[in-house]
């Protein structure tokens, strides 16, 4: 599976059971990255995506167990550590901002098991500069 996450400057993801931030253009970019393939997410995330972009979205509360090779998984409020064996690629969006956090992205992408293959910047609808990095498992 290909995991998609958003993090702040300290790799924070959530605070007080709420996402740190959101951005309409980032969501459009996520859909674009999936290139028509299935995009899994849970109900919490789906409520943010809304109905316009749902043609490729599959909503499930245990999608990390369901997703197969090549499927995209948008993860906001779950730790993917125990699913790591099945993860081929991680797309990580950096807000380039600092928010409070009590849930963090726990995967160490600098541990030698991952290779940064792509890095791009995009302007969000409410964020000046969002950085998209793509890591592939070595």
């Amino acid at each position: 599976m290909i995991v998609i996450v958003c993090v702040d400057e300290k790799k924070g993801m959530m605070f007080h059971r709420r996402r740190q931030s959101q951005d309409r253009l980032l969501r459009e970019d996520i859909i674009k990255q999936c290139r028509g393939k299935r995009l899994y997410m849970n109900q919490y995330s789906y409520e943010m995506f809304g109905e316009n972009e749902d043609s490729i979205i599959i909503v499930s509360e245990n999608f990390l167990e369901q997703a197969g090779k090549g499927d995209y998984c948008f993860v906001e409020n779950q730790d993917i550590s125990r699913y790591l064996e099945n993860v081929q690629e991680i797309i990580i969006y950096h807000w380039n901002r600092r928010y409070p956090a009590d849930m963090y992205f726990m995967i160490d992408l600098a541990n030698g098991n991952w290779k940064l293959v792509k890095e791009e910047e995009l302007k969000g609808s409410s964020h000046e500069k969002i950085t998209r990095e793509v890591y592939k498992k070595k």
Binding site: H16, R24, Y99, S126
Partner: protein
């Protein structure tokens, strides 16, 4: 923009008046007013390495009738010690600044000292901290909105919470009810910290909801909250002195010791006759004499 803000304030005058009781209080000793409740200051745990602590399970203590979809901002008058009180705002896109922030150096909040330390990010211990951040309300050099806060409180403590609100409002065009209360103990001129509450209005807290106390501390610096005076903490003094003074390098063969800055000091680092002393006194006690140059 200012006219627009004023008209918004007028439109919600009634709501502002409701707030005023909570905004103009003087805190009794050992007590902090939180929302409509009095909570004992002793309930706030001491700083323990994290810039903030959650209050009331991180749930803000606004009442339902405080929620409005109209933007407004209100600031307390300074008290007899020239200290700020609660600042309240309903942050909307119409309150947000459209121009770069101007200077605020002319404001000297209570407890203000211009003091620098090497172990502080940016050197300056104190910042003029906006209660309602400039990025939220565009309110700049207002003495009712600026307190003396450490660099740590400003950047590590308050800023992330402001960013959370600012980006949410920009993205959704919703409102966030926002209240910041500086907490002073007794007659202290420097706040112990700030109590920050925020709740997104249109989605009733689904997007933003927090209730935290942010500590006005600076790791490595001792602060006298009565006056705002400060000094390096003991461990940091020793560390700084060690860094400045450095080790004393003796030559076991010649029985000469070298201090940092002396001619042969650096060369001695690789000498097979190197003996290290913590002080000149220690070297002299061992029978060494100081190098002449």
């Amino acid at each position: 923009m200012r006219c627009r803000k004023i008209s918004c304030q007028c439109a919600v005058l009634f709501i502002c008046c409701m707030f005023l009781t909570a905004c103009t209080y003087v805190l009794p000793k050992d007590k902090v007013q939180i929302g409509q409740e009095i909570t004992n200051l002793k309930d706030i745990p001491d700083y323990s390495g994290v810039p903030y602590t959650e209050i009331n399970g991180n749930v803000p203590q606004f009442s339902e009738d405080e929620l409005t979809e109209n933007s407004f901002e209100t600031y307390s008058n300074l008290d007899s010690l020239q200290r700020c009180g609660t600042a309240c705002a309903n942050i909307g896109t119409d309150l947000m600044p459209v121009e770069e922030r101007g200077g605020i150096g002319q404001i000297k909040p209570s407890g203000w000292h211009t003091v620098k330390y090497d172990n502080v990010d940016g050197k300056y211990l104190y910042n003029r901290c906006h209660l309602i951040g400039y990025q939220l309300s565009g309110e700049n050099a207002n003495e009712k909105n600026l307190i003396t806060g450490t660099r740590y409180m400003n950047v590590e403590g308050m800023l992330p919470f402001e960013n959370l609100v600012a980006d949410y409002v920009k993205e959704t065009a919703n409102h966030v009810l926002y209240r910041v209360t500086p907490v002073f103990e007794g007659n202290n001129l420097l706040a112990k910290g700030v109590h920050m509450e925020a709740l997104s209005v249109e989605d009733q807290g689904e997007g933003i909801s927090y209730n935290v106390f942010v500590y006005n501390v600076q790791p490595g610096v001792y602060i006298d909250y009565l006056t705002g005076e400060s000094s390096l903490e003991k461990a940091d003094i020793e560390q700084t002195q060690n860094r400045i003074e450095g080790e004393i390098r003796g030559n076991a063969r010649s029985k000469i010791y070298h201090c940092p800055g002396q001619a042969a000091y650096d060369k001695m680092a690789d000498s097979k006759y190197l003996v290290i002393f913590k002080s000149e006194q220690e070297a002299e006690d061992e029978g060494y004499r100081k190098a002449k140059r």
